[in-house]
């Protein structure tokens, strides 16, 4: 899985796997054995990242999903992505040069 955030590209580390359940996404980090349960908006964003939506589209979708302004939706999206980065579920790739 990978997705663009502005000029930044996120991807999922090899060791991270996930499965969609009825109303949640279970994300497992093989390195630590930790399991993360994503529900609601977080589960939706995870699904949209698997579809490789670009960052502006993610903001638009999240705004529509939660009935937020674009600014509020972006703030929420940034927080979600930061949490996932901190938990090792996403990693930032170097943007391509030249």
């Amino acid at each position: 899985m990978s997705g663009e955030a502005g000029a930044v590209v996120f991807s999922c580390p090899e060791a991270v796997r996930w499965v969609e359940d009825a109303d949640r996404v279970l994300v497992v980090d093989d390195r630590s054995g930790e399991t993360h349960t994503l529900r609601g908006a977080e589960a939706a964003v995870w699904g949209w990242l698997t579809l490789a939506y670009p960052y502006p589209k993610l903001v638009q979708l999240l705004a529509a999903l939660l009935v937020l302004s674009s600014a509020d939706a972006e703030q929420r999206l940034v927080a979600i992505l930061q949490d996932w980065r901190a938990a090792g579920l996403l990693q930032m790739l170097e943007p391509p040069h030249g």
Partner: protein
């Protein structure tokens, strides 16, 4: 005589009679003498009958299930909410005469999709319903995929807030990336995938807009869907060219994929299909190959269906029309039918139910009443046909039923032959099916009967 006893049918098959009572859940193959005894037993009410037919007569004398009836009362339990993200499509099927522009059709606003879902959930909540059902149609719904990707998540979120269950279903051509197909497999409950057969059939009948092959992508996605928890229904359009290949198509599908059902539907002739040299198959040839295909698929545990001869339920409506389905177009119109307005208007029909606006669903009660009356009970052609509670007259738009009783067309004959075939196969009469369908005089005697009603005055047994 009970009213449900009017819905007991009898059809000659060779020197026997197939007795069929859908509301009594009974099918039996009997000789002429037994058929007479059964009819006499029903007409007399409670007189004793010969022991050999007594169990049949007793069952038919019971009230049976209530006859299916049109919907009445307020709009409080829609069949489903249908969303049409776009009328556009990325395929150039050689039989498709859909008048909407393929590439420039409008796309539903994301906000409109959410409004439709809000209005639908409000309606369900107001009437105490706990289950929601959202269907996606097109064109090709995934040609406007963002609408689907949002609507599914939005509906799931709303359902969770309200403590409701929600099901998702889509009818699709299967032309998208593997990642997108995985998302569909994870999020949908049922996918109806159009796949007409192995590569040369699929590519002849369902090429991309630019004429390129679609087979590899669709077959790959059928495998992805086969491996997921989603129910997969494969829909095959059968033509004059492919009818004799139905058993081969069935074997291939059974071997390669894991559908719950393979739905064989025959081509609806259009100027475009005629230009491509395609016509609907001959009814008896379709029935013969349908029977063979069903046996092959049955060995894989897969059901075989022709939508007008689906014996699993009794109904007065063939399709969502009349069952309070609310189908929202990209422009916010709410209709009972997912076909284009010009299609149903050409048939003199008005399928418009209302509009979606900032205040929710504005449904015209008169329009709802008008559409609910579109049932088989209003179709003279079908009055005495044993298929009436399964076919229910077929598509309102594509099948003309404003004909005198029993004046069947090719669609009727096909439906009647497949229905009789399935009933005989259910009775284990496989050899009789083969012999019957191989003998023109024999199957014509069954198919062209003007009334099938056992107790109708014109019935001859």
């Amino acid at each position: 005589m009970l009213t449900t006893q009017l819905d007991i049918f009898s059809v000659p098959v060779d020197d026997k009679f197939l007795i069929y009572a859908p509301l009594h859940n009974l099918a039996a193959l009997v000789d002429r003498k037994a058929a007479r005894h059964i009819r006499a037993g029903l007409q007399s009410g409670s007189d004793p009958v010969p022991a050999a037919v007594q169990p049949i007569v007793e069952q038919l004398r019971s009230p049976g299930a209530p006859a299916p009836a049109p919907r009445t009362g307020p709009l409080d339990d829609p069949f489903f909410l249908g969303l049409i993200p776009t009328r556009g499509c990325n395929l150039g099927c050689c039989y498709c005469d859909f008048a909407a522009p393929k590439q420039s059709s409008p796309v539903m606003d994301l906000s409109l999709a959410c409004q439709a879902l809000d209005a639908y959930f409000d309606l369900l909540r107001g009437s105490g319903r706990r289950r929601a059902e959202v269907h996606f149609f097109g064109g090709e719904p995934f040609y406007a995929e963002t609408v689907v990707h949002l609507a599914v998540e939005y509906a799931a979120l709303r359902a969770r807030e309200l403590g409701m269950a929600v099901r998702f279903e889509a009818t699709t051509n299967g032309v998208y990336s593997a990642a997108r197909c995985h998302w569909i497999a994870d999020h949908f409950d049922t996918i109806v995938l159009s796949l007409d057969g192995p590569a040369e059939i699929q590519d002849r009948q369902r090429p991309a807009l630019d004429g390129r092959s679609t087979f590899a992508v669709v077959a790959r996605n059928a495998k992805i869907l086969s491996g997921g928890s989603v129910e997969l229904i494969l829909r095959v359009c059968v033509t004059n060219e492919t009818v004799t290949r139905m058993p081969e198509i069935a074997r291939w599908m059974g071997r390669e994929f894991c559908p719950s059902t393979v739905c064989f539907e025959t081509l609806t002739a259009t100027p475009r299909s005629r230009g491509a040299g395609l016509t609907p198959p001959v009814p008896w040839e379709f029935a013969r190959n349908f029977s063979a295909a069903a046996r092959i698929l049955g060995d894989y545990g897969i059901e075989t269906v022709l939508s007008t001869a689906d014996l699993r339920t009794s109904r007065v409506n063939f399709c969502p029309v009349g069952r309070d389905a609310l189908i929202v177009s990209p422009d916010g119109a709410v209709e009972a039918c997912y076909l284009l307005q010009e299609d149903w208007e050409r048939r003199g029909l008005n399928m418009r139910l209302g509009r979606l606006d900032g205040h929710g669903l504005q449904i015209d009660p008169e329009a709802l009443w008008r559409v609910r009356r579109l049932t088989v009970l209003e179709k003279p052609l079908c009055a005495n046909c044993l298929c009436r509670y399964h076919c229910a007259g077929g598509c309102h738009v594509n099948h003309n039923t404003a004909l005198p009783v029993g004046q069947f067309d090719a669609v009727c004959i096909q439906t009647r032959l497949v229905t009789i075939t399935q009933l005989l196969n259910q009775l284990g009469q496989h050899r009789l099916v083969d012999e019957w369908l191989a003998d023109r005089a024999m199957w014509e005697a069954s198919a062209w009967q003007r009334t099938d009603r056992l107790c109708g005055e014109e019935m001859r047994v």
